[in-house]
Symmetry: D2
Subunit: 396 residues, 4 copies
Amino acid sequence: MAKGQVNIGLIGQAFMGRAHSNAWSQVGRFFDVPMTPVQKCIAGRDEKTLAAFAARWGWENYTTSWKALASSPEIDLVDIGTPNNLHLQMAKFALQAGKDVACEKPLAGTLDEARQLAQAARKAKNAKTYVWYNYRRVPAVALAYQLVKAGKVGNVRHVRAVYLQDWADESVPLIWRFDKKVAGSGSHGDLCAHIIDMTRFVMGEEITEISGAITETFIKERTLPTVSGQGGIASGAKGSGKKGKVTVDDAVLFLARYEGGAVATFEATRMATGNQNRHGFEINGTKGSLRFNFEDMNWLDYYDATAPRETQGWARIMCTHNGSHPYAQAWWPDAHIIGYEHAFTNMAYDILLDQAGKKPTVPLPDFEDAYQTNRVLEAALLSAKHKTVVKLKDVK
Amino acid sequence: MAKGQVNIGLIGQAFMGRAHSNAWSQVGRFFDVPMTPVQKCIAGRDEKTLAAFAARWGWENYTTSWKALASSPEIDLVDIGTPNNLHLQMAKFALQAGKDVACEKPLAGTLDEARQLAQAARKAKNAKTYVWYNYRRVPAVALAYQLVKAGKVGNVRHVRAVYLQDWADESVPLIWRFDKKVAGSGSHGDLCAHIIDMTRFVMGEEITEISGAITETFIKERTLPTVSGQGGIASGAKGSGKKGKVTVDDAVLFLARYEGGAVATFEATRMATGNQNRHGFEINGTKGSLRFNFEDMNWLDYYDATAPRETQGWARIMCTHNGSHPYAQAWWPDAHIIGYEHAFTNMAYDILLDQAGKKPTVPLPDFEDAYQTNRVLEAALLSAKHKTVVKLKDVK
Amino acid sequence: MAKGQVNIGLIGQAFMGRAHSNAWSQVGRFFDVPMTPVQKCIAGRDEKTLAAFAARWGWENYTTSWKALASSPEIDLVDIGTPNNLHLQMAKFALQAGKDVACEKPLAGTLDEARQLAQAARKAKNAKTYVWYNYRRVPAVALAYQLVKAGKVGNVRHVRAVYLQDWADESVPLIWRFDKKVAGSGSHGDLCAHIIDMTRFVMGEEITEISGAITETFIKERTLPTVSGQGGIASGAKGSGKKGKVTVDDAVLFLARYEGGAVATFEATRMATGNQNRHGFEINGTKGSLRFNFEDMNWLDYYDATAPRETQGWARIMCTHNGSHPYAQAWWPDAHIIGYEHAFTNMAYDILLDQAGKKPTVPLPDFEDAYQTNRVLEAALLSAKHKTVVKLKDVK
Amino acid sequence: MAKGQVNIGLIGQAFMGRAHSNAWSQVGRFFDVPMTPVQKCIAGRDEKTLAAFAARWGWENYTTSWKALASSPEIDLVDIGTPNNLHLQMAKFALQAGKDVACEKPLAGTLDEARQLAQAARKAKNAKTYVWYNYRRVPAVALAYQLVKAGKVGNVRHVRAVYLQDWADESVPLIWRFDKKVAGSGSHGDLCAHIIDMTRFVMGEEITEISGAITETFIKERTLPTVSGQGGIASGAKGSGKKGKVTVDDAVLFLARYEGGAVATFEATRMATGNQNRHGFEINGTKGSLRFNFEDMNWLDYYDATAPRETQGWARIMCTHNGSHPYAQAWWPDAHIIGYEHAFTNMAYDILLDQAGKKPTVPLPDFEDAYQTNRVLEAALLSAKHKTVVKLKDVK
């Protein structure tokens, strides 16, 4: 019997358009997929480059009308890889058109929009929704989830979560990432969203309180961009002499409490000189601890406090063993490491499992789940603004 | 001409009594000291063990009367190595007796006492005061200070400071460190004090605001101790069946702002499983960054953002080179590493330089300086208590 | 004007077949290629799986006759991804058919065969040949080459090269990798070949002497395989009760001298418990040093001995900066790391540059170059066999 | 009853004189010693500095006649901290005078002298002998020994041992360490001796064969010294314009086999730029592996191949836990790390245990044991000289 297929329509041809395209084209090569992903159509605004992009990445068709794509009877799953301010209209439209939707993170640039999307998803009863918090599918992070679930860490008491980048020095012009209207926020939605989702996922616990927060914009003005970046973040962007105002945060720091009693520090910034992409967490529990840093994404550090004391230590686990580690069956022999893009491919695989009615390797975040992360983002902003503790139950 | 001598009287024969005794006895062996430290007398409460302690560590005399010691004409410098709640009366008495005073950190268990001590020091115009924030004299930390001062880091934007220990699990009984009356606080005065002092020292900047804080006691009750620990912290302490209430924090976390614009996370805890003594900081500036972790105390990590981009990276500096690194002239050949106790010996050397009217290797903290750290400690407690931002100018 | 194209015919559908297929299919997506690689045809022995493999990896056609493929007028470049004992006949045939040839490493399982291939390549004057020593194109390794070439290391005095794996314990049956007839040798041709090529490449120097060598087979007999492994090395292979003799080495160690005066240790093994794929080198020169370990393949360590002594240290370079590091222009934003397969894709890009008459990013190994590595392999075996020093000039 | 005492006479007031003096003066402070070490007398050649040295380091008397010291009825244990070429006459004399002897490593600069000393020790039936292979008493190394002994590593198959320093560049003049008459050899006796002893100790196995060796002198001539170094190795040494010939090796590399079947690489050098004191080993066994590097001397890495595969990894053990790790009872709280000198103090403690008829923490090397290390040193030299394999049974 023929295997079913999932017809995919992707909106967006920038950084995320590229990452998603790669995931859909690679997943069937490396994984034994339960359904075949078909790259039906891509929608983008820049007509000049769209045909070439579609050809390069294996899309059967392309269109400059995302609505045409999202309502086409040919499409089963609408994949949204656009800036945050477009998520609401696109995802809502697609849900109303009866499509399953996979949306880039964060679910939305504002809590209000995220709430609307969660509601829209609830309403569209048969629709499946996904949010591309792809780092859940870094094998080391998925393993961390499994170890916590298996009780290896015990009750978590401490969380340290950071997402540190350093690309945003004075030389970078005022690209869209510094514009609140487009991005919603700066490092907060871009980076904090990931570490909030990641700790919620790994721990299986919700944050109940933001106990204090700082938002900071170190560079208040930047030159206006004449050339926008290619290939990711701000690479290659150039500015003119004129300056414009930065309307988002460069850095966000906050303290939090989890439902299980853990206390946490969170920090996201684009100005942590020397840290190009340090996206990680440490959690300390009554029975053990875990550490992860994306810059060494194939490794997970685990401290087993129940081992004999004389050999207790931080074990550095290379998470590539076929048969022992999540997603390792798809890739290369042991310690022939994988990279950034593979987390997207792993997620594409889990989406296909879910589409086929099977259980994904580790839980997939849907709109409801991602809305919880938006609530935490909002609570942190409120805490910074009002200079006080904010309970999550008061942020909806 | 004969070299001058400094007659030292030490109060305290526990963990710190041992560390100070070692420092005074070793400093003249490894360093070319400008004045000779003479271990004149030690005062302690436990008469049974005092004579043996004095003999073991080379003290000429001993007494159970700290007042006798502190007022003896034989003594030039009173060195106080007792719990925090005794600092005020002892240091004040010694100052009034005309002595120079070296006091263990924190200067006091409460801000009120710290203020009184700062005042007493100001009053005793000719007295020199020192506080044993010994980690300033870990060579890597002293080098960090020198690099910041030389402009290698530029303007600091981010600080991450942690002091993580994990010894205080449920099995540890209610030793004095869990008793507010004796200790003043838990991890806060014990551990946070160090990271506050260390970042103030390395950056040469003051904290201006606590932007949010959490204090937490994970284990509310502990068994009463029957045997107290020997040789440091809680090692060997045993408890009975009866329980008593823990009156101090197990963990403290706070956010802060520095006068130069940097934002910071601070965390101190005794329950960060897998981190036995991770006492460190990261600072990120416009020109470079620094990282330090006491568990690897001979190393300093430095990121030079002004180097050619292709070879930019975190340089791991082994801080043991005689001729290049502070204090290295005293010890062993390159990379024949030193340990915890050496920071005390290095500090004893700098105290002797100061006594001889010479400039210490790096600045020594006096009572006034240590009082600033107590102000930050207090501000963090107020922030946690009142769930709001606390400006340092309002805490005196 | 239309961009030229290179029609590729691949022989082999196992581990390397998969890696090469991926490279050819991905190179045009990530790189701006000067010529378009067309995946014309794949040849394989296992007819049952060949059609599915071709479809999965995007090959236009497939055949069970490698000779048909290698002589087809449709094919420009014959890519050989088969076991070592087949390289000679296939590559020679393809060269005689007027094709360019890209052959898996080592060039051959024996020196005699390697010499024949080097001769065949010389004879086929217009043919371009390549050998898949893909690790040259790990960005960190390519950067190491560039730094040595720029004089940053000075004269090299010490080399430490290891390729350590640990998959070959008693549970692994007698797969082809333990059979001399197929593999030629064990860890020697499989692993040593890589570290010989890598150091020759990075240093730009030839080995002149093997100063001593050990070959060792720890496990002399293994059970005969009933199921062969899938997805790389020995993963999934199972054995029956009967045993057969292992005819290759498990480990090879040797000492060597380079033409510039450096002395070296080499070690390759499949039994270095805890080292799944530690493929690396250290070189120490008069001006600086370099360290690389494939398990952390995005990092290169560099020690600049000409820097001010106080900040000298091992700089850990994240080799992902677009504009500074080789191949980074193709991939993701800074520190969004890449993995094992990307070295193949980078090599495919350089082959295309070479095909288009342009200069590859770093030198490509041709048959002549790879023959030199076979000479070193042979010299090491002779040294082990005759228990004496072997000069390279005597091994041809 | 009064505790017994051991009266110590030390010969040598340079680098090792200082290290031994410190050990004898500190051991009674940190350890509960079974016998009291009394620093009776020190002998040295430089009368001008001897009195000050004795006073500084707590020696009761001093003399310029080592024979007077070694034959004095006051002395129980003669401690020899002089250059290698003096060991034979001094140790032999002391043994004949009925003393116990603790001799610096290597036992002698030549095999012939080492053999004579082993014979002298056998003859002096009641004498106890010790050789200061102090690194056995780095807690991490002692723990490695214990873990191997407990079977945690299984059968060792691979050994990698290095002792890499980088102080000996062109600027260093022709100090005694480059003079064969005084030093016997260069990096070989100085550094290789340590890694031979260390692996013999940790593994509890003897080397049976040197399978190849290289000795190399990179810098053939050096300027004659005008000022000799102080405080260790070559620090501060200065040279004149005239040059003299270096008569020792700068680097030694060899391959070896152990009685249990393991194969090994050894390397010692003073020119491994960037490695100031990398003294370490890796051993890989059938059940687990161990790694140690002196530059991080408080850590031992352990890979447990019997653990569940999913959490297998290199555990980084901080070897400072009182109650779990050797010698930790003497020092500071957990992870308040120790340094180079402490290995000597730990050894002094074990010597005192042995003097009191008790079992030392881990085995102490006597002259017989150290003679075995000299045999390996000689075998390596023979292998390099004769360019062939040398069996240990043929070297006596």
